[in-house]
Symmetry: C2
Subunit: 209 residues, 2 copies
């Protein structure tokens, strides 16, 4: 059976997956690129980059997925729904290469991109959206791609099999927080923590058997 996985979801020490305000100029708000710097140092991103634990996690990001589900605020800046030309941040060939389901209360027609990515827009519960994505993914896994709201909603609904967070050594203070409403998560998941020399701690949740 295909699994539901979260990978490389970067959060601050205080649990924020993005800063604020989100905008076209600053997709992560006042967080800037700081949540993601550790990724850019790995050999997955640049020649001669690191090949240790950061890179191992980074490599899993695109490994074995047949579909992605993301939130409306990951797909575009506030108000993208009013721009009929908006096709995401990622240019003509987005890095998903699978059917990609965007949860939004204002769905539009699907958009086929280059490289195998098709954006579909769903106004649906986490469970309903997952059923659609699973169907599309076949034997492959479904990635919950973020932001924090969507990751949190899928964790709260008990729909995630494996989750990986990269805790970066900054305190954002405000933004979109992943942990809210998840009291007692450790009773359903084995939790592992491993720090990397980059300064990040990788936290993995594996659903208990």
């Amino acid at each position: 059976m295909s699994r539901v996985r979260v990978h490389n979801f970067a959060i601050s020490l205080d649990g924020f997956g993005s800063g604020e305000p989100q905008s076209l100029e600053a997709p992560f708000g006042h967080a800037g690129e700081r949540l993601h710097e550790w990724r850019f140092g790995t050999s997955s991103w640049k020649e001669g980059g690191s090949t240790g634990v950061d890179d191992l996690f980074e490599r899993r990001h695109n490994d074995g997925f047949g579909a992605e589900i993301m939130g409306s605020n990951k797909f575009g800046p506030p108000g993208w729904q009013d721009d009929s030309d908006w096709k995401g941040w990622w240019g003509p060939n987005p890095p998903f290469h699978t059917p990609t389901y965007v949860l939004t209360h204002r769905p539009r027609s699907s958009i086929e991109m280059e490289g195998g990515t098709t954006f579909h827009f769903l106004d649906a519960s986490p469970e309903e959206a997952l059923a659609v994505a699973r169907e599309a993914a076949g034997d492959l896994d479904v990635r919950i791609g973020g932001g924090a709201t969507v990751v949190r909603d899928y964790l709260a609904a008990g729909l995630v099999d494996h989750a990986h967070f990269a805790v970066t050594p900054i305190v954002l203070g405000r933004g979109s927080r992943v942990w809210d409403g998840l009291e007692g998560l450790e009773s359903s998941y084995d939790v592992e923590q491993v720090s990397a020399p980059s300064g990040v701690t990788h936290v993995t949740l594996t659903r208990k058997a």
Copy 2:
């Protein structure tokens, strides 16, 4: 010059230093003992315990302090101010062995205990309380002993030189949170993270030179 240090302050993945509600029966609320289990496994606490990184941090807890400052909610359960016999949780010989300043809006007379601990009660700003504690500590350091509210207030006021948090792999969801209002803390501190086999990640903040 003596330094101001926080040691072995245990928090959940979501940043809570205690659960709720705090009471005589459950000083840490629904967190129980789970934030502190890693400490009990070290050789500082029991014969044959671990001697690795957890123990190294644990041993620093009582190393070089001439005074402690703590919050009212660490000193006693809600309402302790109405019990004139309350002398803290720790029995006749508390583990502080120094002057210990309890911040409270309802101060009372000092209480001299065995073993060098004297409890003093102060209704004062963080700065004012620190000046008093520094005076008492002489060349030794001042420990900010918690709870989260007091640690947070001292960090926010820029009065902490070194802080150590032990991030335990549980999600508490509610209680007293240490990170609130500390946006940008990383600009004043070098932050290091190291995970231990016990499942805890030790986060240290060292004030930048």
